[in-house]
Amino acid sequence: MNMNFGILADGIKALFTAEYAPMMIMWIIGGTLIFLAIKFEMEPTLLLPMGFGAILVNLPFSGAASTIQHLFSIGIEGHELFPLILFIGIGAMIDFEPLLTNPKLMLFGAAAQFGIFFTLCLSALVGFNLNDAASIAIIGAADGPTSIFVAQQLNSNYLSAIMVAAYSYMALVPLVQPPIIKLCTTKKERQIKMTYKGKKVTKLTKILFPIIVTIIVGLVAPTALALIGFLMFGNLIRECGVLNSLSETAQKVLANLVTIFLGITIASQMTASAFLKVETLVIIGLGLVAFIFDTFAGVMLAKFMNLFSKEKINPMIGAAGISAFPMSARVVHKMGLKEDSSNFLLMHSIGVNVSGQIASVIAGGLLLTIVQSMI
């Protein structure tokens, strides 16, 4: 009994020492993440488990930390299982039809990866090693699983900060993108109406698409084959038409289950001693730069294409080329409606958004291939 009181007293006493102040800062950070998730519904599926996990691992003598660390070692550190399995669910959720009806939308997805490479240069310029710089840059993929996969493959020292930044910015897309889009476009450009020509896409095309993309990306960037392969496998389950129950399971049960574990597992890396560093702030700042330049490049490509095309493109849809699916598409659609209540950009922006999903994996794969050959 005395011993129990001793432990309790130690724990309470510990809270009021300067040594534990960083832990309390982590509680505030965790609380903020939970607040953002509940109050503003910002990516609640991830921010809430991350926030709670951050508190969990930052309690004195936390017994939960070892359990979560074990989850981390088997789910992420091992063979990036959680992000890869999540990709099956994401693949099953994605409908590539808007992209297949207008394949040139893929160009925006490609352009919107510029932020990744720009941030790579910037990160290396401020002093990060090449593998760390590449891992930080991939935050610009706006795709949590890809960020984790690349950072883990490159053995980055900043995995925790990268994971937190990647997921936080995905949640903050509605706050980050609109001001940049407005800054790059005029009101007249934002009001450009685009008609959606819903061409019929055959079932065979929908089935062949994931297989072809897997083969092409696998040949160009074999290191990222697991990522694109799992994504396209999920999509194939969806489109084949004979595995409806599997498709539904992947979309709902599997994706939700992995998301629960992923969120709380990421938190295992949010210990005060590892997280409260100047480097974390710099990484979060660089992540923002990546998002800004992704958005900028997508919008600029649309403006550039408008110089030559007869049918004008609303440059805002270029911003949906960052992967963050489907938030980015929704943001663009809402902005379009704000400018003109009869301007429906959703189908176009969704097309660009899913192309961004593929392009971000390609970018991650290329970055991995190039950087691994150099280090």
């Binding site: 510990a14 980055s156 100047v278 390609i362 150099m374």
Partner: protein, 123 residues
């Protein structure tokens, strides 16, 4: 509204108190900076070594501790990263271009096949 303000004030007061106690605790620790009664922060994560140890297959850089780094502008790094940027962006556009071309071919082929089927049915 009043309730919210009160809640914020109470929270702020708690924080101020906690930090005041922290400052006091720091001042009363031994000259070496180590309070002998205080448990070590590093101990909040129990030993995770076990049978699952090192099943990652990598070098294990991710031990939860970031290395201390000094930030300095390294202009020479651009010589390394700018070519990566150019190659990467070019690579993405090439791969995207190939995918677009294949999708266009697929769409056209399927439309032709569909039209032929419909013509046959019509006949």
């Amino acid at each position: 509204m009043k309730k919210k303000i009160t809640l914020i004030l109470v929270l702020a007061l708690c924080l101020v108190m906690i930090f005041a106690v922290n400052v006091f605790a720091t001042a009363t620790t031994s000259p070496s900076g180590q309070d002998t009664n205080t448990p070590n922060v590093e101990n909040n994560i129990p030993n995770t070594e076990g049978p699952e140890e090192n099943n990652s297959g990598n070098d294990g850089n991710n031990d939860g501790e970031m290395p201390q780094m000094s930030f300095q502008i390294r202009g020479e790094s651009l010589g390394e990263t700018v070519p990566i940027m150019c190659t990467g962006m070019l690579g993405i556009f090439i791969v995207t271009g190939i995918i677009i071309a294949i999708v266009l071919i697929l769409n056209t082929t399927m439309t032709v096949i569909d039209n032929k089927k419909q013509n046959k049915e019509n006949k």
